[in-house]
Amino acid sequence: MKAIWAIASVMMRELVRKKDFYILLIFLLALLGFLSSQSFFNVEGISRYIKDFGYSLVTLFSFIIAVTFTAKQMPGELESKTIYPLLAKPVSRHTIILGKFLGGVVISSISFVLFYGIFCIFQWIGGTGNSFMLLGQGFLFGILFLCLVCAIAMFLSNIMTLGANITLSVLLYIMISGFADSVRDSVLFSKGITSVLGGIFYYLIPHFEFYDLRIRITHSWDPLPGWIVVAVALYTCIYCFVLIYFAGLIFRRKRL
């Protein structure tokens, strides 16, 4: 555990050192400030579109941090050859992968906490806050989403280059968020072998759309039932565990 934490803490220092996070933070503040100051024909109290844009921006910016920071870990270590002193220490390769993954999760979660906090403050100032339950679910789902993103980026960083990893992660996010519902419907309405293969495919893809509470938060719908929250949390844990386990296996067999 100590070794995992040591590897993760090195990554956390990176967040403070690098400018990516500050730029996104300033960008978020500027955009939310701009959106809040917009006036539409002197109609007062318009809030939903700020929540809509705000939540989307928070998710997008945290996703960027999660992907870029996690994806560059392994290639960075290999390129600068800092992986060798690390391997010389009494830590297994699985521990290194787990430490890097945890570092990615902590970094993106810290960013998410700040971004989400700013989003909530803007809601509070505008006097259009959501129920604490829904905001809490939004927060929890945000963290779970980042865990999944980090696990995917960490897994891919073992089998492809940095550029390919980032591109594929972004593409996966866009495609699955946009088309998972269509895949689901086509599987449900198909029969025979198509249904079986479609079902397997549906179970294998990472379901980013599970974590999207944008519509609920924007339009202040009711919070999700408890069992859904538990199911999504379990799904994330299992998916991350499998990905990190295989990432460790691949890394262990790698000739360095």
């Binding site: 007062e44 449900l188 599970f210 859904i228």
Partner: protein
Amino acid sequence: MNVKALLVLFVWLVAAAAIVPRVDAYNHSFLSQNPEFDVPVLMRMLGEGRSILSNLSILQADRYFHGGVGHEDERHQGSLSILENETADEDYSPVVKSKSKVSPYNILFRIPEETEVTEHAHLNGDQLKEIVPWLYYASEIDPHNVRACTLTGFYIADKMGKVDEGIAYLRKALRNNPESWEISAELGRIYYQHEKNYTEAERFLYRAWLLLEKTPHDKFQERYVLTLLAACYEKQGRTKEAMKLYEHIQELFPDAAPVRERIKKLSSK
């Protein structure tokens, strides 16, 4: 070398000082004669994509009207419900979630079913303001999207009660679309219904009628403009002119009882 560079810079500055005011003056005169080209650079770069984006913005307004849930065709006869001006806020029945076809153990298939918001709800009263930004963006992205302009005008003036802002907005829209009978008619309607300024209403409605005659249209559109125009004449005590219009409407709709009664009432005066 430095002297040469300074000389080039000097010549460049003199040339710029001579050319820029002329280009600026040309731009101003061109845009004042062709207001339809007075669009921000970014929007110009989008080209025809502006029209698509503008319509997407209207669709988004419709989604907001339904509390973020996708539009249901069967409940609105395939049209957008924000276009149904007199939508009764309560004339819909809540959706009863049908029993799931998915096995309860097929968890990944069940999650989206449970998380999806399916309730059919309409924004009403003060909540309607939430769709205004999307209507605003629709008309800002494509100032020639007449539907976006009339819809925005309707929501500002009628639903938000901001009549002055609605009129100012529609006047600007009319400057961008001088040939649009729809915007003229909308302005005329607002002047008639909200401002009770029958002279201005008549001016815009008459203009709308003239423009309508020049474009392919159906008799329902003609009836809409003429009914309002006839009402304006009536309010101004110009019974003969109103009568002529009602007779014209009756030619279009021979079985329309209310028009027949109106004519009878006016002729008995």
